[in-house]
């Protein structure tokens, strides 16, 4: 059984923005796109560990603030030609409430 944790509402995250969920095992970045899609990935860039939550969000990608790698939020993959990937976390949105599972 997946254990869902309520982490907040969609409106708590600015459109094209991100917020952080702190866990004992490091931060998780929760993103909101312009079309209100929500994605959660580990807040650690595959390049040198930059905090992805602080990057600029566009389409379904985020650009890491440290050296501008682009990460596709849906797959967690770095956009070519960069190579690497970041762990994703399952989530669901019910009545505007974001539920996150820590089993990434």
């Amino acid at each position: 059984m997946t254990e869902w944790i309520k982490v907040g509402r969609i409106e708590d995250i600015p459109p094209l923005g991100a917020r952080v969920v702190e866990t004992g095992n490091g931060d998780i970045a929760v993103f909101r796109t312009a079309e209100d899609k929500i994605f959660a990935v580990r807040d650690k860039c595959p390049h040198k560990g930059g905090p992805l939550s602080q990057g600029i969000v566009h389409g379904r990608n985020v650009t890491c603030p440290l050296h501008n790698w682009n990460i596709a939020l849906e797959s967690g993959q770095a956009v070519a030609p960069d190579e690497g990937c970041v762990a994703r976390y399952p989530l669901k949105v019910e009545d505007g409430v974001i539920h996150l599972s820590l089993k990434g």
Binding site: I5, V7, G8, D12, I13, P14, P15, L16, G17, R19, V20, V21, E22, T23, G24, D27, V30, A34, E35, K48, G50, P51, Q54, G55, I56, V57, H58, G59, N61, T63, P65, L66, H67, N68, N70, P81, D82, L102
Partner: protein
Amino acid sequence: MKEKLVLIGNGMAGVRTIEELLKLAPDAYDITVFGSEPFGNYNRILLSPVLAREKTIDDIMLNDLQWYNDNNIKLHTGKWVTKIDRAKRVVITEDGSEEPYDRLLLATGSNPFIIPVPGSDLPGVISFRDIHDVDAMLEASTKYKHAVVIGGGLLGLEAANGLRTQGMDVTVVHLLDTLMERQLDKPAAELLQCALKEKGLRFMMEAQTEAILGNERVSGVRFKDGREIPADLVVMAVGIRPNIELAKKSGIHCERGVVVSDTTQTYDPRIYAVGECVQHRGQTYGLVAPLFDMAKVCANHLAQLGYSRYEGSVVSTKLKVTGIDVFSAGDFLGDETTEDIVMKDAARGVYKKVVLKDNKIHGAVMFGDTVDGSWYFQLLRDGTDVSDIREHLMFGQAHLGDSGHGGQNAAVAMSDDMEVCGCNGVCKGDITKAIVDKGLFTLDDVRSHTKASASCGSCTGLVEQILVSTLGGDYSATPQEKPLCKCTDHTHDQVRKAIRAQHLTTIPTAMAYLEWRSPNGCHVCRPALNYYIISTWPAEGQDDPQSRFINERAHANIQKDGTYSVVPRMWGGLTTPNELRAIADVADKFKIPTVKVTGGQRIDLLGVKKEDLPAVWGDLNNAGMVSGHAYGKSLRTVKTCVGQEWCRFGTQDSTSMGVILERLTWGSWMPHKFKMAVSGCPRNCAEATIKDFGVVAVESGWELHVGGNGGVKVRPTDLLCKVTTDEEVIEYCCAFIQIYREEAHYLERTAPWLERVGLSYVKEKIVDDAENRAALQERFLESQRYAQKDPWAERVSKGVEKHEFIPLKHVS
């Protein structure tokens, strides 16, 4: 049903067009490709390294068979198209099979010209065009001794050099008395010939071939003047002719090449043509760069976007012979309407000539030292007025600076294991390998694949040189100005003009009006749009925090570990015991690990946790301190020296002037960071002459200097003018900042901007034109009314952007 697109000619131009098309409209067509060669698409310009046995055909593949498969392209290799039936809209191949098309793309390249002398059809007489020719040369080199290359142009010399490296005795035969006459002038050609002689090549100049001798196989060459030389292999490299046979036969209008319009269409609107087979505005091309420009335009029309136009290309060339550096671009010979600047140092084997017309670079040719080739080429393509830099034009981009690449500025002299990019640790060998293995052609390609020159950019010149010496030309597209980013075709200036003319005050409306290609842009265009909007419409423009880089969003500088640094402002470098106490207290209270004096005369608190930022600012604000914008594209610091008040040499009160200027200009958003300094005398202790706006006090008043910076490329300022009163310093400062704010491109610092528009232009606008100067000042002061809000105070007391600083949730 999808439309059918058929490509005839599986070479560099045709396949590049398909690649561009797939980027724009991946599913628009069922694509079929016919190629007479038995391979996928390979990089023809790297045949020379294959001849030198440095590379194999597999290494120089651009699109292997898998690529065609992955993209659902039907490829027929080894198959000639013999006819196009335009009425039935089918192409017919040599074996009689037919393929229907809705649109057809001709990219049949060109044929090497074979001089029609007796014996030219003997075995052992070949051209240098494809893999087949290279194989024939390699085979000959293992069996025979004497090679003759007819033609002393680019191709002939590369073939000759290749055969020489394979151990053959090579004689180059040339009709004229100078080599590469289409790319070089006489002095450069002479230096080249000397250098090639040293490599062991022999030359016969002004020699006209009369016959190729031999029975079963070639055995010699005879010339008009009766001379004869032995030959076991003859390579004809006397030029190419557009391959128009098929087009002509099918009734498509041809002159020297297949005639196309600016949309790359032939006279039959269903049929497009690109590449060497094409004649556009009377011009044919034999280099890859223009073909790639055509490919882009053609793809745009095939994808039915229909707005792109090909307007011709300016080309530059480079000979790909290791250790020999030649470069030429544009009209390097000149005529009675042009003037030359020449520099020659025969002992060093260096020759440079720049041809100017109406104060613009019209052409350039260089031998030996070609470091500045790409700089001249850039100036040429941009049509930059070079009168302001004319005095030092020949000495190149002298302010290149040494930081990051150890003073190295000639890529040819570097070994493969030498570091080119000091930021990302990329060596020369990594770059050449990526260019060949991954089929890269442009600086942008190399940047994104290797990261070389992608950070501080100081090694860009070196990377360009490596690119050019590997591929033999400059492949960046020809347009005068680059589009702002991948999301649009508009340039910075066009975007800015639209924002003003259409009264666009938000990013979404600007993107909608300008038909942005991606729904919400990218990390390059969004910050630029945001800046253009708020700088054009200071009162109404909507600042979008999500379109700002994190530092400007959080008003602190992100560090490598995700913590932040906080730098409070110290006006003109002055501080007080109270401020210092407040800084000390805040450092203690929040356990800030590092306190450092910056290079900008103030104190940096490093390693602050993001959640703590508002509280840290709160405490600093209470002590009267405001944000130092050490993170922003905005005014940074105003450095000062002690000046008249204390210093025995001081001529004016530089410290107070610094404070006045900083209080006047802080908070203003700019295209890039902006630094100022005020020195109290020409000893210039505040280093004012490497600042964006520098003020140097003299007995009679103040000197105003502009457009300097330290950093990656050190550039000293240019003197703008001398003034006598404090009020004038203030007025000029405001006017200069405002014209920079209104006209520079986002992320263009004052130095490159000033070089682009020219010092004369800026002088004309703000020194000669008092009215304009006053108007600029007024607009600047107006915009400061909205900008001078301390971002910290807003966030602390009004809770602005609160969500930025607290986690969404904490779970254990």
